[in-house]
Every structure is written in structure tokens, then in C-alpha cells.
């Protein structure tokens, strides 16, 4: 018997005000997905119309963070499993895509999709194993997975071993040269970001998502109610791997280089978790806001050399503050203050 059985209230501080008239539980509205697509359009068009490369780079990083955070939220926010080593999807996807483009001369989009599919499949297979672990053990196992893959890649000669893979400029020729390639990759990444958010929304409003949320609240009770917990978890883990892998492929293609330490950077992996907690886990907009805010914060902090050393400290302090005082994050706070927002701001 676990200690956490009835004794304390297992509330997650997502309390409503209590005395508001109960709003009718709404079926999913068309408004929200439309808003997401609109956001994506803004992301894509604002830098393009302004021909502002600096802004594009900033938005590109934001799009990557949002993709990572949003997909990670499927495991952390919905299913309640902390995937510390989530960055392994990003890095592995990056390697597969870059390899397909450089060695096998695949077109970029096909290589990206293949990277996503492969990493997703691997996640399904290996996930089934490590998802038998609960709580902290799963969390640590994911770090182990990331480390193991990093070690493997660092010793894998066809992928450049410890030095990694460099892309020469010819790799960008099929896309019309480096300039237009950068814009194209940017648009594709924005597309990946939009699809990630839509996926998150689709899951949350689906029967599958309900099962995941039940697992996240109380896995044993969910099983008693009939949720096939092993399958659900494995599918969620696999689904949360696809878009990060594609994003990794696009990102490293654009960066022109991929090497083991940068691809499997545990710090970024952890920052994705901080982004989710900052914005509000278990929601669709939470990771979006959290990633955006964190990226701004990070950009601001990195300008000062002394503070950049303390990046980890600040991220940690932020995470701690959120967990202790505002576990619902920014979105949780908004929901609490304005309960009506719950249906609009999912």
C-alpha cells in the first residue's frame, strides 16, 4: 500500500474557486485549434515580412523549445511520468536525419519524417521496457537511456564518432542554397511546432488522453477502471518522441553540425521540464507559454557573463519556486483567478 492513499488530499492545486456555478463540461471547441494555427501563421510570417533574420533565429529557438516542452508534457503533464532524458529523441532524430541527408542523399522532408518514425518506433519498443518502472526509477532510467545513446553515438564511426557530422554547403543546394534553405527549415519547424500543439490538444480531448490523465492521477485506480496502462504509457511515450525527433532533424540540419554533447544535452532536457512547470503542466498552452517565457529569460540572462554561469542555479531555483508555490504554473494561476478561462485556455 502506498503512503499516499486517502490520508492527504491529493490535490494538485488546480482548485477552482469552489463556489462558482459549475460550468457545463464543454466538448472541444473549434476555437482553440484555430488559435494555434493562427499563432503558427504569425510565427512564420512576422519575421518573413520583415525579412528580420535576428527575429527569425529567436523565434526558431522558441519554436524548438515549444516543440520539446509540448511533447514532453504528454508524458509529464498527462501521464505523470517524468522523462528527464527526453532530449534523446531530439538528438537521435537529429543524427538520423542528418545522416540520411549527407550519406544517403535523401531529401530533407523525407529524412525528417523518417527520423521521426524511427525514433518513435524505438521509443515504443524500449519504452515498453522502462515504463514498467515507476516514479523516480523511470525518471532516472530515462537519463540512463540518454547517456547510453550518447555514449553509443560517440563511439559510432559511421556517424562521426566523437566529432560528429558536418554538413557541407552542397547539402543546402537541393533547397535553393543556404539562404532559402534557412527560411524553408524555419517554416518547417514552425509547422512542427503547430502540429505538436495540435497533437497535445487532440490527445487531451480524446478518450486516449482521458486514460492518460487517469494514469497520471492514480495508475492503479486507472487499471482497475479498465485502462490498459502498459499500452497507454508506451503509446504516449512513442507519440511524445515523434515531433522532437523531426525537430531535431531540422534543427541540426540548419545548424550545419551535429555532435554527441550538443545533441544529447542534458541541461536542455531539464530546461524543457522547467518550461513546462513554469507555464503549467497538463495543459496545452502551459508548455507554450512556459517555453516562450523561459527562452526570453534565458536570452536575457546569457547576456551577462557572470549570470550565465549560474544558468543551472537560476533554472533550479525557478523550478523549486514553481513546485513549492505555484505548481499549476502560469496557466494554473490564470485558471484559478478566472475560472471561465478553463475552457478557452486549455
Amino acid at each position: 500500500m502506498t503512503v499516499s492513499a486517502d490520508i492527504g488530499q491529493q490535490d494538485l492545486s488546480r482548485k477552482d474557486m469552489g463556489h462558482e456555478p459549475a460550468p457545463e463540461i464543454a466538448a472541444p471547441r473549434r476555437v482553440f485549434p484555430a488559435l494555434i494555427v493562427l499563432l503558427g501563421a504569425l510565427f512564420a510570417l512576422v519575421p518573413y515580412w520583415g525579412d528580420d533574420v535576428g527575429l527569425r533565429e529567436s523565434f526558431l529557438l522558441a519554436a524548438v523549445y515549444i516543440t520539446l516542452a509540448s511533447n514532453l508534457n504528454i508524458m509529464i503533464g498527462y501521464a505523470g511520468y517524468i522523462n528527464f532524458g527526453n532530449i534523446v529523441f531530439f538528438g537521435l532524430g537529429g543524427y538520423i536525419c542528418v545522416d540520411l541527408v549527407t550519406r544517403w542523399h535523401w531529401p530533407l522532408v523525407a529524412a525528417g519524417l523518417m527520423a521521426g518514425a524511427t525514433v518513435s518506433l524505438l521509443a515504443l519498443v524500449f519504452g515498453a521496457g522502462i515504463l514498467r518502472l515507476r516514479g523516480a526509477f523511470f525518471a532516472l532510467a530515462t537519463i540512463g537511456v540518454n547517456e547510453a545513446v550518447r555514449q553509443f553515438v560517440a563511439n559510432f564511426e559511421p556517424w562521426g564518432g566523437a566529432t560528429g557530422i558536418y554538413l557541407s554547403f552542397d547539402a543546402y543546394e537541393p533547397l535553393g542554397g543556404p539562404m532559402s534553405a534557412l527560411w524553408l527549415v524555419y517554416f518547417l519547424l514552425v509547422g512542427v511546432m503547430v502540429l505538436s500543439l495540435l497533437l497535445s490538444y487532440a490527445i487531451k480531448t480524446s478518450k486516449f488522453g482521458l486514460g492518460l490523465l487517469a494514469i497520471g492521477q492514480n495508475e492503479d485506480a486507472a487499471g482497475v477502471l479498465g485502462v490498459r496502462t502498459p499500452l497507454h504509457k508506451a503509446l504516449a511515450y512513442s507519440a511524445s518522441a515523434f515531433f522532437p525527433a523531426v525537430a531535431g532533424g531540422l534543427f541540426f540540419f540548419k545548424s550545419g553540425i551535429i555532435e554527441p554533447n550538443g545533441a544529447f544535452d542534458l541541461t536542455l532536457s531539464i530546461e524543457a521540464i522547467v518550461m513546462i512547470m513554469l507555464g503549467g503542466y497538463g495543459t496545452v498552452t502551459g508548455p507554450l507559454l512556459g517555453a516562450f517565457l523561459y527562452e526570453e529569460l534565458r536570452g536575457y540572462l546569457l547576456t551577462s557573463p557572470t549570470i550565465s554561469q549560474l544558468q543551472l542555479v537560476i533554472a533550479g531555483a525557478l523550478l523549486l519556486a514553481m513546485v513549492l508555490f505555484a505548481p499549476g504554473g502560469l496557466v494554473g494561476f490564470i485558471h484559478q483567478r478566472w475560472p471561465r478561462s478553463r475552457t478557452i485556455l486549455q
Partner: protein, 286 residues
């Protein structure tokens, strides 16, 4: 063949220290169902405390051990009150993130203070030679200390009044509270104790191998492996598990490169957890 035996014996000695570290982790889990993800940082803390002591006061790690324990205990209690107390009744997600956040903060501060360069504490003790192999004095001393501290812990938990209070809280917190035991205080003390064990282990490890601010994660993984080998919440099992791990390392190191060790341990971790959810040495419990 002799080489393998020597390696195994050496592994067992070092394993005792792993066991000590794991005891801290498993004690905290057993009493308050919190997985302390600052464990690695605490091991590193122990390493750097003795390093500073040896640099500033010329104390050897063995002499500095009492200071390590006291400082570590204080740090543990502080961490408990700041981060852990508020998350105890809440979902495991929260306590994992809270302790992990503390870990980030501490490692970040450590990196700022000491960078990620390797450090070393030169300790020389006479060793024992056998069949052409030397068992270093430091390894034997470390194992002896580990055994000593483990023994003290055992006596404390089983015979001291406060130790029994800790076990009462571990067994049934509500009942303990009703019996008049100040459970919050006990939890804070237990956390401090668990941290002290980790720091002590770190101090001993500092005598064995060079270390950096980032070494903690490696030893934390070992502690986790040991904890699952010995069964969660079972300090005696942790010591046995540590020795077992040391044994496995001793068997493996003559045959494969060092960089593979974390992967082997990680694989072991996953396999043991999946196959033996209660731990291999889990003594039968109702």
C-alpha cells in the same frame, strides 16, 4: 585468475562505501517515501568538505569525518525544511521535481565555486601486499569506516530511543503522531541523517578516486542500483547491495573499458527493477 580475485576483493572494499551512500538514500525513502534527488550533490558536498578541510586545516578526511557529518546533517535539515516538507503529502511528481531542483541549484553553485575540473586529495596509508597485488590502505580504511558508520546506524535505529521513533514514523506515521512522536521533527532529522550518510560516503570516495563537481551523478546512479538490489527502505540490504555492486564491478573491470561501467550499471538497474521489484535482498516482509 589471481588478478580477478584481487580485483573482486578490491571491489568489495569499495562496494562497502557504495553501500554507505545508498543507505542514506534508502533511509529517506523508507521513512518518508521521498526519493532524494539531491543525493548526488550531497556526495559531492562530502568530497569538497574534506577537500577544503585538507587544504585549509590540513586535516585528513578521516579526521575531518565528524565535521562532515555535522555539516551535512545541518544542510540536510535545511534542505528538508525548504524543499521537502511542503511536498510530502503530494504526488510523487512534486517531490521528485523539488529535490531535483535543489540538486540543480547546488550543482550550479558548486560549478561556480569549483568549476568542473578534477580534484584530488592525496592520502597515503600503508597497504597490504598479497601475491604481487597491493590492497591499498585507503581502500581498506574506507571500507572500515563504512562498516563502522553502518554499524553505528544500526545500533542507533534499533536501540536508541530516537532511532526507534524514526522506525515508528517509517512504519505508520499517523500512529506515531498519535503516540506523541513529533513526526515533522523526526522527518527532518531523518533527512539530515540520510544526507549525512551520503556526505560521509562522498568523503570516503574522495580518498579513493579523483572527483569533480559533476561526479555526483555517477555515484547517485550507483546508489540507485544498490538501493534496488537491496530493496527500498532497507538499510541492511543497502550495505549488502553495495558490496554486491562492488563485487560485480570488480569482476567486470579487468575485462572491459571503464567508460562502459555506467552503461552496465544502468542496464543492471533496469533489469533488476523489472525482474525483482522488491529487491534481491529484500527480507521477507508481510
Amino acid at each position: 585468475m589471481i588478478g580477478v580475485v584481487a580485483s573482486v576483493i578490491d571491489g568489495v572494499l569499495v562496494g562497502a562505501v557504495y553501500g554507505l551512500a545508498a543507505m542514506g538514500l534508502t533511509l529517506i525513502w523508507g521513512v518518508m517515501r521521498v526519493i532524494n534527488l539531491t543525493h548526488g550533490a550531497m556526495i559531492v558536498l562530502g568530497m569538497f568538505i574534506v577537500y577544503c578541510l585538507s587544504k585549509t586545516a590540513g586535516l585528513s578526511p578521516y579526521e575531518g569525518m565528524p565535521i562532515v557529518v555535522v555539516v551535512a546533517f545541518a544542510v540536510g535539515v535545511v534542505i528538508y525544511w525548504i524543499a521537502v516538507d511542503r511536498v510530502i503529502g503530494r504526488p510523487i511528481l512534486m517531490s521528485l521535481l523539488a529535490t531535483f531542483a535543489c540538486n540543480m541549484i547546488l550543482i550550479g553553485i558548486g560549478t561556480a565555486l569549483w568549476t568542473t575540473s578534477p580534484y584530488n586529495i592525496p592520502v597515503s596509508l600503508p597497504g597490504i601486499s598479497w601475491q604481487g597485488y597491493t590492497f591499498t590502505g585507503t581502500h581498506m580504511m574506507a571500507a572500515a569506516f563504512a562498516g563502522l558508520i553502518a554499524g553505528l546506524l544500526y545500533l542507533f535505529l534499533n536501540y536508541a530511543r530516537y532511532g526507534k521513533a524514526i522506525r515508528a514514523v517509517a512504519s505508520n506515521r499517523e500512529a506515531a503522531e498519535l503516540s506523541g512522536i513529533p513526526t515533522k521533527q523526526v522527518l527532518a532529522v531523518t533527512f539530515g541523517l540520510g544526507v549525512a550518510l551520503a556526505c560521509a560516503a562522498g568523503a570516503l570516495i574522495a580518498t579513493l578516486f579523483p572527483f569533480t563537481v559533476l561526479s555526483g551523478s555517477n555515484y547517485q546512479l550507483k546508489s540507485f542500483v544498490v538501493t534496488v538490489l537491496g530493496g527500498l527502505g532497507n538499510p541492511a540490504g543497502a550495505l549488502l547491495g553495495g558490496i554486491a555492486l562492488g563485487l560485480i564491478e570488480g569482476l567486470a573491470t579487468p575485462f572491459m573499458p571503464v567508460s562502459w561501467t555506467p552503461i552496465i550499471e544502468f542496464a543492471l538497474f533496469v533489469i533488476v527493477l523489472v525482474a525483482f521489484p522488491r529487491g534481491i535482498f529484500a527480507l521477507s516482509r508481510a
